[in-house]
């Protein structure tokens, strides 16, 4: 049972344009969501998070949007830069729990 789904295994975006990565979830008990970025041969690094009491959180070029009614969140990167090329994982956590439930990841490639 895949509770967190990233349906696009890969995405290619031109440098300078907006990258939009999507994530859907099925568990209505999730109340905290995170995005991690992973380069090859490295562990995932935390990027940005959002609590279920908000619908938007922004940090520099990165913005996460949460639509609770649709059980959908997205990560916007603008403008996209070559260094953003990586695998992006969406993750979620239920209230009171510490373990994260991850999606399968989306490989983002930024083309010069």
């Amino acid at each position: 049972d895949q509770q967190v789904k990233q349906n696009s295994p890969s995405l290619s975006v031109q440098e300078g344009r907006i990258s939009i990565l999507n994530c859907d979830y099925t568990n209505s008990m999730f109340d905290y969501f995170l995005w991690y970025k992973k380069y090859p041969a490295e562990g995932p690094t935390f990027l940005i998070s959002i609590s279920s009491i908000k619908d938007k959180n922004e940090d520099g070029r990165f913005t996460v949007f949460l639509n609770k009614s649709a059980k959908h969140l997205s990560l916007h990167i603008v403008p996209s830069q070559p260094g953003d090329s990586a695998v992006y994982f969406c993750a979620a956590r239920t209230q009171g729990a510490q373990k994260l439930v991850f999606g399968q990841g989306t490989r983002l490639t930024i083309n010069p």
Binding site: V4, Q6, Y32, L34, Y36, A41, E42, G43, P44, T45, F46, S49, S51, F89, A91, Q98, K99, L100, V101, F102, G103, Q104, G105
Partner: protein
């Protein structure tokens, strides 16, 4: 500052052998997690340690998997009688766990290949 470290970085073993994977969390972090990432999959939770509390073992896939955390710091994940389906990248993470919303910091992982 030192991040989460894991050893070995790569491990090749024969089916049926036991393996031990080590994790050194960030100093002062009381929470430690093990995840694994199989080929083409997302990260799968295995086990969670918090201070002196009983660990959350709900993610361990079978009784061949066990983990311990000595002195509230270093952790070892042991896989007995390895099978080919155990091949994956095993990732360790730690966090301060002072309350809600703390970030989990990941190590580089151990890439395990069972032949």
């Amino acid at each position: 500052g030192a991040g989460v470290s894991q050893s070995p970085s790569n491990k090749v073993t024969e089916k049926g052998k036991d393996v031990e994977l080590r994790c050194d969390p960030i100093s002062g972090h009381t929470a430690l997690y093990w995840y694994r990432q199989s080929l083409g999959q997302g990260l799968e939770f295995l086990i969670y340690f918090q201070g002196n509390s009983a660990p959350d073992k709900s993610g361990l896939p079978s009784d061949r998997f066990s983990a311990e955390r000595t002195g509230g710091s270093v952790s070892t994940l042991t896989i007995q009688r390895t099978q080919q389906e155990d091949s994956a990248v095993y990732l360790c993470a730690s966090s301060e766990n002072r309350g809600r919303g703390e970030t989990q910091y990941f190590g580089p992982g151990t890439r395990l290949l069972v032949l």
